[in-house]
Symmetry: C2
Subunit: 457 residues, 2 copies
């Protein structure tokens, strides 16, 4: 490959170079991800069984392990033009601060009002809901990025949007809530008195501040019990990784433009939406023997599904109303430490990524949160952008890899995903500045207890 003499700070694709199809990484996988199971029959979920919960076309995408490319509908492409192509940035300033010979690149997905990559899938899911003639959609949100993204997408297609927001976030992040209201969404703190499962959980645990698993259960209940509504989810699912492939496709196209092949691709991993999207074309090339490249998932030490979890079928939600998914999991009873800042708090991991990790095609590393915020602050001061805590997990490991290059003198190409901005996470930054942030690592006993909540499949 011919290498450009001078690589600009930001490598922008042309509007016409936005990918016109999503890439389905499952089509390249030798071992396909395990199917979702019906928790009653323990048999693979059929499209018919999923229809009351999800939109029809999204179910087709969810179950399809073979089709390589799904064309991006024109109306979704038009919306993408609002904020895509996103820039691939050469981190010249960070490299200089580290004194590393490594070349660091990051794909920045935070340049839109939702503040993260979540919008890529939100607009796709809203489109299919509208196309099916639905009135609205329901969902849950934790830190609030997904809820914001979905609100924006629903405003665009004039769909009703009901968001169940984990109560602790609802109360601590009123500004996030207000952004969703600006886009016309209704936001309910979860658990709420408005659903059966919410009332049950409130009766059982009065004063609970909620969890993502509980908010999922409430959103699903409202979707299946309200005519003209379906449930949508911002991570974990195959369909979401499919939509997020736009991140990886653009990243690869931009790298091709400057004649660069990555040696390491790094992404943070909560449910897997960003990581799965970012790595998709690189993983394909790696599977096909066309690319020699390390792929690294970064997760918080406080919620280590990959590095300390079990690869097994598990419930996706606390209320156990969803299908079972085979994944690296800490058990659906696992509750992340309350001191943990930001997202990446989900107990499980995408089935696609779980299978790839189990096949030895990816690495995973877990990092303590004070180290993550140190990396975030260095990044903010050198590269300008104030990163989200989630994204900062990837920054931390990119910095570690770049420092290794300083030792070895290697000019490796390190690519990472900067999924979003941290404007709504300043409470966490404040804790960090005031020295009040702690590093929590769940004990083996604690994990053993939550593994006991795994279903017997």
């Amino acid at each position: 490959m011919k290498r450009l003499k001078e690589i600009p700070y930001k490598i922008y694709l042309d509007e016409k170079e936005i990918p016109n199809a999503w890439y389905n990484l499952r089509s390249a996988m030798i071992n396909k991800p395990a199917p979702l199971l019906n928790p009653g029959t323990l048999k693979p979920m059929t499209a018919e069984e999923l229809a009351p919960v999800f939109c029809d076309e999204l179910i087709a995408q969810e179950l399809d392990n073979d089709t390589e490319y799904f064309p991006i509908p024109e109306e979704v492409l038009n919306f993408y033009k609002m904020y895509r192509p996103s820039p691939l940035v050469r981190a010249y300033f960070l490299e200089k601060a580290l004194g590393t010979p490594a070349h660091i690149y990051y794909k920045f997905e935070g340049n839109n009002t939702s503040g993260s990559h979540k919008l890529n899938s939100a607009i796709a899911q809203a489109y299919y809901a509208k196309k099916q003639g639905l009135k609205g959609v329901t969902t849950e949100t934790g830190a609030g990025q997904w809820g914001t993204a979905l609100s924006m997408a629903c405003a665009y297609f004039d769909l009703d949007c009901k968001v169940f927001m984990v109560k602790v976030s609802y109360e601590q992040k009123p500004h996030r809530r207000e952004v969703m209201r600006t886009y016309g969404a209704s936001v309910t703190p979860s658990p709420s008195e408005s659903t059966n499962i919410g009332r049950k959980i409130l009766a059982e645990f009065p004063g609970t501040t909620g969890s993502l698993g509980c908010a999922i259960s409430e959103a699903v209940e409202v979707a299946v019990s309200t005519p003209g509504y379906r449930y949508v989810l911002g991570s974990v699912l195959n369909q979401v990784l499919l939509h997020q492939s736009v991140i990886g496709l653009e990243t690869q196209a931009a790298l091709d433009k400057i004649g660069v092949k990555p040696d390491i691709v790094i992404g943070c991993a909560g449910g897997g939406s960003n990581l799965g999207g970012l790595i998709s074309p690189f993983m394909r090339d790696k599977i096909k023997g066309k690319l020699d490249c390390r792929i690294v998932a970064v997760e918080p030490m406080s919620c280590p599904s990959f590095t300390r979890g079990i690869y097994a079928y598990d419930f996706c939600d606390t209320g156990k109303v969803c299908p079972l998914a085979k994944m690296y999991t800490l058990g659906s009873g696992f509750i992340p430490a309350p001191n943990h800042a930001g997202g990446l708090r989900y107990h499980g991991m995408s089935s696609v990524l779980s299978q790839l990790y189990d096949d030895g095609l990816m690495e995973a590393v877990s990092v303590p949160q004070t180290e993550v915020f140190k990396a975030a602050e260095l990044f903010a001061r050198t590269e300008g952008t104030l990163p989200a805590p989630e994204s900062s997990h990837a920054i931390k490991v990119a910095i570690d890899e770049a420092l290794k290059c300083r030792e070895t003198g290697e000019a490796k190409n390190i690519v990472f995903g900067l999924t979003g901005t941290g404007y709504f996470d300043m409470v966490a930054y404040e804790k960090f500045h005031d020295g009040l942030m702690s590093d929590y690592r769940p004990s083996d006993e604690e994990l053993a207890k939550s593994f006991a909540t795994l279903p017997k499949v």
Copy 2:
């Protein structure tokens, strides 16, 4: 001019097309802006008199009405590459929602962590401070955008940064404060006990929540009394408008690329930094008879310096420690209504813009804030980006002009400046959603009272 057949959503310049010189609009003005006066002698301030307050090279820029272009130093250009060129966006979605034949374009300056255009001048001022061998700079901030921008710039050049933040904002916007801390700045609520003027004001008005004019006085006092420090300001001054010309130069270059000439250029106006920068090349062409174009300043009804102010010499700060400036002003004793959201609260207006307005080269219009937030919400829902309240003043008038075009059937080219994002203004949005926002218009009696605070020059 040849017009492109298909204009993209976002018109990006190449990195190499970032202007390499700032344009000094004063060089084209027939009637030059009135000079700053020494409040003691009432004679024009000399470079020597300004030296204890401002950096030497910035003073040279401040006093120079003749030089057309000032080269942008290489280190500033490098920093610009972090977030520039900023996109010029064709507002296709907004046009569609309005059903207007007008073509609407906006220059979006919010795609950086400071969230606004203020960074363009902050990095220039920090550079000259560093070059002069200073230890640090002092400044004031109201809504917090300027303080954030200066913190980022000082972090880049390893300069100390002392920010006096209007007390009411300090308390209501802890997140803004935390962003500044992330970039290493020290932030003090104003009025404070740490300065003579602060103590005096606190003694006279115990319980005051502060004002921009007071914070300026404190910042200047600390700068002149601390060895190795100077004061920097984010708006009003000639030098700031000079640096902000990068906005207008890029806008014109992008419009040239697609073969478009603006019929109307619209900007919000507080102290004038954004408006003065945005319009600079267009105003030059208008003065020289090369462009037939309306130029419109938009200000809040609650702080109407252009539309109801007096063109006279006035104090720039409450403590009356700064030089006198000739400007459209409401009197330095004017205090904007506390219910007013966001910036644009300064009692005066840039001398450059004041002169241009007095010469009939610009129009001005004032708008009530509920109308501004209605426009902001429509913009957010259609164009995606959640705008700052300041920027939304320009959106409101751009929409009004586009609706006039719907009546007349004219396909006018409307260009406005979208100076920033509203992530830190969600309290104001919440008031708007809850119907708690009111429209305040100062009475004639109130203005007469504050006009009485004007100095006799």
